[in-house]
Symmetry: none
Subunit: 244 residues, 2 copies
């Protein structure tokens, strides 16, 4: 990916409208313009506008969503900003590593960066939508970056890598990107097939689907791999099983 | 220089006390504690304290000076943060280059980073005290980073170089590592199962196994995930398939 155009910042459940304005300003200083808001507590709001300062155009074009799914529709990669290193089997990268990964994406990929609520961050269900967590290395005794400060740091890292550099070469074979709906569809197929072949007990599903989601969120699947997995599941469902 | 202990942030002529508090917070999140204030317009001040949030210790130990000279006494290097690229015969570096230079200093060096007034920055006399200017690369059409945002970005760069990441990787819940033989065994199981359920044609295997290996090599599986995959394959083999 060579342009910042396809990178959206998604603020989830922001409590203080001033932080939305400050985030818009932080984004614009680094040349980012795509702001999405999921269930902001107060918005539109005069304080948001005041804090946006000269970035009112970014604020004016912000898209407000009723839920996170609608905010990340069509996105090929979803990153979640996380202050706490949670006990989750999900890959954690620092901002610099995240930007390096984003640059390896195809030019027409859409990428979402999620920023959670001021006090509670992102919920577990929201984290389940993320392929990677981004952790800003911070003072372990005081890691509470203000929301706009976290936006500023990540926007700065993007700017440092995207704007000064000339051409960042993509490596490896052609991989056709998939998006969030494709993954959701794969997980539904897994759930249905594993129930059918008796591996998943709907009465007692335990954590199986969550574990599988984390595994495949991490794996950064391409289109071809997605089709292989669907094919395996179909064959498993249809297997007549000569032995037992 | 190996420690952040000898790096001081000097806010010169700050107008809004809230920005002093926000700067203290930004510093503390990155493990910086040495704050110096030159002729702040309003200080001490309740808004500064409020915006400092949990960084009131940094604020409480801030040293207030009547002039810049006293604030940089004893410093071996002085850097000035500058939003505008001025026509001055002075070297301009970006934050990353500045940090690299600072790290080359002797361990007992003292370094000052100057942050100017919100609207007018540093005066020419103040710039004359600096060996280097630091310019944060920004959107040429909107380069006005908030004072605390500039403090946050530079503090972050220092933190990234001096005390880098957490153990980046996956954190949290116990993940039991697997080894190359475990993976080999998984791939053999895939090959056998996929043949059995009719998805893999041994006469015409194409690239299927290679693709699956790439996918799961990339996924960094743990023991638990390995067992889930074996379990799915066993269930697929044994599936009696009520439908076809």
């Amino acid at each position: 990916m060579k342009s910042l155009e396809n990178i959206r910042f998604v603020l989830v459940g922001t409590t203080h409208p001033g932080n939305i304005g400050a985030a818009a300003r932080a984004m614009k200083t680094m040349g980012l313009t795509k702001l999405h808001l999921v269930e902001p507590l107060h918005y539109p709001n005069a304080e948001a506008t005041a804090r946006a300062s000269g970035a009112d155009d970014v604020l004016a074009s912000a898209v407000v969503h009723q839920d996170l799914v609608s905010a990340i529709t069509g996105c090929h990669q979803v990153y979640g900003m996380s202050a706490r290193l949670r006990h989750l089997p999900i890959s954690v990268v620092d901002p610099r590593q995240a930007v390096a990964r984003i640059q390896q994406q195809a030019d027409d990929s859409q990428v979402a960066i999620l920023f959670g609520r001021e006090h509670s961050g992102l919920s577990n269900e929201e984290l389940d939508k993320c392929q990677h967590l981004i952790n800003i290395p911070a003072n372990p005794e005081y890691s509470s970056l203000n929301l706009a400060a976290a936006v500023q740091v990540f926007a700065y890292e993007l700017k440092m890598s995207f704007a000064p550099s000339i051409e960042v070469g993509r490596v490896g074979e052609e991989r056709e990107a998939i998006n969030a709906e494709d993954l959701e569809h794969l997980y539904q197929h897994f759930e249905q097939s594993l129930t059918e072949i008796g591996f998943l007990d709907p009465e007692n599903p335990k954590n199986l689907m969550r574990r599988l989601k984390r595994l495949f969120n991490r794996a950064d699947l391409d289109k071809n791999e997605l089709q292989i997995l669907h094919g395996i599941l179909r064959s498993a469902e249809n297997n007549k099983g000569e032995q037992s």
